[in-house]
C-alpha cells in the first residue's frame, strides 16, 4: 500500500479552540467567508452537551477523490508519493463541478475570486519537511498528521458518529471519538 498522509482528528483532545481553522487563514489569507478548515460541532444527540465536542474538518484527501474525476481542466491531482490531493486554483474555470460533487464539502466556493479552492495539505510546507499550518497550530495536538498504513489503534475510526459515511470516496481522515465526564449536578443555582 502506497503512503497516504492523513489528518488524525482526536475529538477527545480537541477543545474546539479554532486555532487550526485560524492558522489556515493566517497562512493563506482567504477572504472573509472562505474557510478551508472549520470546526463542526457535534449535535446533542451525539454528544449530550451543546458546543462542547467538535470535528475539525478540511479536505479528506480521499483514496478515490471525486474532485479529481469531475474536474474538466485537471486542476486536482492526487500525488503518488503521499496521496495528498493538490488543488491548483489558477487553473479553475469556476464550473462548480467539484463544489457540487464533493459529499464532504471540501471544495469551497470562492465567490469573490470566482473559483473553487480547498485545503491542499499545505504541500509547500510538507515538501520542506514542515507540518501543515493547522497541525502545527493545534495547542493540544488533537489534530495531527499520520501515515495511514502506520496506524493501528483500537480507538481510531474512519466513520465516527456525526461524520458521513461515503465509502466510494474512502476518505483518509481518521478520528478518535470524544468522551463525556461523570456528572454531579446541583439542582438549582439558588
Amino acid at each position: 500500500m502506497s503512503k497516504q498522509l492523513a489528518f488524525l482528528v482526536d475529538s477527545k483532545k480537541c477543545i474546539g479552540c479554532y486555532s487550526c481553522a485560524m492558522a489556515c487563514k493566517n497562512q493563506y489569507h482567504q477572504e472573509p467567508g472562505v474557510k478551508w478548515r472549520d470546526l463542526k460541532p457535534l449535535p446533542e444527540d451525539i454528544y449530550p452537551h451543546r458546543d462542547r465536542a467538535f470535528y475539525s474538518l478540511a479536505c479528506n484527501h480521499c483514496a478515490s477523490p471525486v474532485c479529481v474525476s469531475v474536474c474538466p481542466v485537471s486542476a486536482y491531482t492526487k500525488r503518488e508519493t503521499d496521496g495528498i490531493v493538490v488543488h491548483d486554483a489558477e487553473k479553475c474555470i469556476y464550473c462548480k463541478a467539484c463544489i457540487n460533487s464533493c459529499s464532504y464539502g471540501a471544495a469551497k466556493d470562492n465567490k469573490i475570486q470566482e473559483r473553487a479552492e480547498k485545503c491542499s495539505f499545505c504541500v509547500e510546507r510538507v515538501d520542506k519537511g514542515l507540518l501543515p499550518a493547522c497541525v502545527q497550530g493545534c495547542p493540544t495536538k488533537a489534530l495531527t498528521m499520520i501515515e495511514l498504513d502506520k496506524v493501528n489503534s483500537d480507538n481510531i475510526e474512519q466513520y465516527p458518529k456525526g461524520f458521513e459515511k461515503h465509502t466510494k470516496l474512502n476518505p483518509s481522515t481518521r478520528f478518535v471519538f470524544s468522551e463525556t465526564p461523570k456528572l454531579v449536578i446541583s439542582d438549582t443555582d439558588a
Binding site: H29, Q30, E31, P32, N110, I112, Q113
Partner: protein, 177 residues
C-alpha cells in the same frame, strides 16, 4: 498647468490633513478647470466629512487604498499591495518608508501617475507603462472608491465637487486608453 499637474492637485486633496489643505486643494482644482468655486462653504463641516469618508478614527467609509476594493480579503499589505509594490520596483522605485503605509494608497498612486505621465514626454515607452497602470489597476478600483465616497458625502459641497471632478478626470483618462 498640464495633465501632470492636475494629478498632483488631486493627490494634494486626498492627502489633506486639515480643512486648510482641503480648501486650498479645492480652490486650486476649481481654478485649473476654470469653474467657479463656491464662496459660502463651511470648511469645518467639510473636514468632518473628509475624515469620516477617508481617514477615521472610525473605519473609513471610503478607504483611500486599492486593497480595500481589490484585495480578496480587503487586507492592506496583501496581494494587491504586493502587486503595486512590484510594479514600482520594476520602475526602479520604492517608498522611502517602506512598510509604514501601503504602496497602493491613493496619494502614492496619483504620484506615480503623474511621474509616468511626465516621463512619457521624454520616453515614449513610459506612455505604455502609464496606460498599463491605469488599465490593469487604477481604473479597476478608483471608480468604485469614488462611488462609495459620493454615496456617503452627505451635505458636503466642496468634497462632493472635487470627487465629481476627479471622476470626470478618470473617465477622460479611461477614454484615452
Amino acid at each position: 498647468m498640464g495633465n501632470n499637474d492636475i494629478m498632483l492637485k488631486f493627490k494634494d486633496f486626498f492627502n489633506s490633513t486639515t480643512s486648510k489643505d482641503i480648501k486650498q486643494a479645492y480652490y486650486d482644482i476649481c481654478e485649473f478647470y476654470k469653474i467657479p468655486s463656491l464662496k459660502e462653504i463651511n470648511w469645518e463641516e467639510e473636514e468632518f466629512v473628509f475624515n469620516r469618508l477617508f481617514v477615521g478614527p472610525a473605519a473609513p467609509l471610503a478607504p483611500m487604498v486599492a486593497s480595500a476594493y481589490l484585495d480578496p480579503e480587503g487586507r492592506i499589505h496583501g496581494v494587491t499591495t504586493t502587486d503595486v509594490k512590484t510594479f514600482y520596483y520594476e520602475l526602479g522605485l520604492t517608498l522611502e518608508n517602506e512598510g509604514k503605509e501601503p504602496e497602493d494608497s491613493l496619494h502614492h498612486e496619483l504620484s506615480i501617475c503623474s511621474y509616468l505621465s511626465q516621463a512619457a514626454d521624454f520616453k515614449p515607452e513610459y506612455k505604455d507603462f502609464f496606460h498599463k497602470f491605469l488599465k490593469f489597476h487604477f481604473i479597476i478600483w478608483v471608480p468604485e472608491f469614488i462611488n462609495k465616497a459620493l454615496n456617503n458625502v452627505g451635505d458636503s459641497v466642496a468634497v462632493r465637487k472635487v470627487l465629481n471632478l476627479f471622476s470626470d478626470w478618470v473617465t477622460r483618462e479611461t477614454n484615452k486608453l
